[in-house]
């Protein structure tokens, strides 16, 4: 006997126990555990893949964004430049228009003043002529009050005629 002789009973029970254990563990422990571990590993792998892809996408998005930003900045510059030019042009136009208008107004005023002046001059002339006529009439009347004065007058006129 001794410890190096395998006993039949223990062989029997060990075999039985081991295979029952193997069956139960394989079905209810190893299968779910291994599956869960593998699923998780796959999930982690795919998550890492997705993260990497997302990172690459982010990078490309960023370069895109930078491009867009640059374009936007350029466009803004362009727009501002155009706006500035437009403003300058508008101001210049307005200035020209204003000065033209002013010149026109001035011309009109000048013409008006001229007309008024001419009218005033004509009237003054007429008045002066009227006054002169009235004066001469009065003088004439006063000089020709008597016949002797009239006679002297005609004589003086006759003298002028002889000279011609």
């Amino acid at each position: 006997m001794g410890i190096v002789t395998p006993g039949f009973g223990l062989i029997f029970w060990t075999t039985l126990t081991f295979f029952i254990l193997l069956f139960l563990l394989a079905k209810f422990a190893w299968k779910p555990i291994l599956k869960a571990v593998q699923d998780r590993e796959e999930a982690i792998d795919s998550a890492l893949e997705a993260a990497k892809a997302a990172k690459a996408e982010m990078a490309s998005l960023q370069t895109n964004n930078e491009q867009l930003l640059k374009e936007a900045r350029e466009e803004r510059e362009q727009i501002l430049k155009e706006a500035r030019a437009l403003r300058d042009k508008t101001i210049a136009d307005a200035k020209t228009a204003a000065s033209e208008e002013a010149a026109k107004v001035l011309d009109a005023a000048r013409a008006q003043i001229h007309n008024e002046k001419m009218a005033a001059m004509t009237e003054v002339k007429n008045q002066v002529a009227q006054l002169a006529i009235d004066m001469s009439e009065r003088i004439l009347r006063a000089e020709l009050k008597d016949a002797a004065a009239q006679k002297a007058m005609v004589d003086r006129a006759m003298e002028d005629v002889k000279m011609n």
Partner: protein, 371 residues
């Protein structure tokens, strides 16, 4: 269990009268006994061998010189069919002096092996024919499939394994695709270790089929090793240090290896390529023996390592009784502590080595030729 123990101790008390007979018998058998101060001299070898061997009852301790043990069912497949009775019926007799009558038959227990009892007792009161020189018992014995101490410990270990892994598996079902928690967190690195470092590395791409078997072998050995290191009930049984247990495991490894052997494997065994024809048959013999020596080494390695661990621990504990002084106990305790810690490592290491080599053998049998 506690009630059983009490029952057993009562049995022990009722077996008072038998005890004296056993002692007398032990003396007559030439066991190292001294009658100096009315107490037996301590024989460490006997105690240790008794511990590492299997037994029909689970001995817990001695109380007032009477053994207290948990009775276990004795199951015998006899000439008249199955016979079942409690191991307590032997009244701790292991010398064949107490006959148990069950199922109309008479049985005796001689050194934990059960025989059909002889009609008459011999001159030492043993109901068996014993050779005077070798102490070999020539009586017939029935097929003994009793729940012995090792079987009980084995079943307990199986229960522990199920109680560890079934809840762990359930927690995976409950929280799929999340970090492992609790028991699953403890179990997962070990399972992944066996799967990746033992199965995948050594078997190759067909490894998945063998992972459940390797996991079962690994945890079966490891948990049994660890329970064997627990110094009190229900641990302490020398299950993986019993050659019957390691033999079953080795046979499983042997069968799985050779069933999965491909034509290259068998070709390398019986007609080794690349050698002179004259050498080939010679090598075939060597390789053929190799098929059996590999699992044989598995069987012996585990058996020897675990048994050696138990022997060393028990020897160190026995120092107090050998030197008969309590002053040796610090050394005894420190050395036992050291060896026990070492044995914790050995428990895991031997489980690992057994599983690793099994995987290696399977891998070699399934290896595809790449010349």
């Amino acid at each position: 269990m506690a009630s059983n123990a009490v029952l057993a101790s009562e049995e022990a008390h009722t077996a008072n009268e038998h005890a004296s007979a056993i002692e007398a018998n032990a003396e007559s058998h030439g066991h190292a006994t001294e009658q100096g101060e009315e107490k037996e001299a301590f024989n460490p070898a006997e105690v240790i061998m008794h511990h590492i061997a299997d037994s029909h009852g689970w001995h817990l301790f001695d109380w007032n010189d009477h053994p207290v043990s948990i009775p276990l069912p004795v199951i015998l497949y006899t000439n008249n069919g199955l016979v079942v009775f409690s191991s307590a019926e032997f009244h701790h007799d292991q010398e064949g002096t107490h006959v148990v009558e069950a199922g109309g038959q008479r049985f005796v227990n001689v050194h934990e092996k059960i025989y059909y009892a002889s009609e008459e007792a011999n001159e030492h009161g043993v109901y068996a024919h014993m050779d005077h020189e070798t102490h070999e018992v020539s009586n017939e014995s029935p097929w003994d499939i009793s729940i012995t101490k090792n079987v009980a410990a084995l079943l307990f270990a199986a229960l522990v394994i199920l109680l560890i892994f079934l809840p762990a598996a359930r927690s995976y079902k409950k929280n799929p695709n999340s970090a492992p928690r609790g028991l699953a967190g403890f179990v997962e690195p070990l399972v992944v270790f066996v799967r990746d470092d033992i199965a995948k590395n050594n078997i190759g791409h067909h490894y998945k089929r063998f992972v459940p078997l390797l996991l079962t072998i690994f945890f079966f050995i490891w948990i049994n090793n660890l329970l064997g290191l627990v110094p009190f009930f229900p641990g302490g049984a020398n299950v993986t240090g019993n050659i019957a247990v390691t033999m079953v495991l080795a046979i499983i490894a042997f069968v799985v290896t050779n069933v999965n052997g491909n034509k290259h494997y068998w070709g390398h065994i019986f007609w080794m390529p690349g050698l002179p024809v004259a050498v080939k048959p010679l090598l075939a013999i060597v390789e053929f023996i190799g098929i059996f020596t590999k699992p044989f080494s598995l069987m012996i390695r585990l058996f020897a390592n675990i048994t050696a661990g138990h022997i060393i621990v028990l020897s160190l504990v026995s120092l107090v009784f050998i030197f008969e002084t309590v002053w040796i106990s610090p050394a005894s305790v420190l050395l036992t502590l050291f060896i026990s810690i070492l044995e914790l490592l050995v428990a895991a290491l031997q489980a690992y080595i057994f599983t690793l080599l099994t995987a290696l053998y399977i891998g070699a049998a399934m290896h595809e030729e790449h010349h």
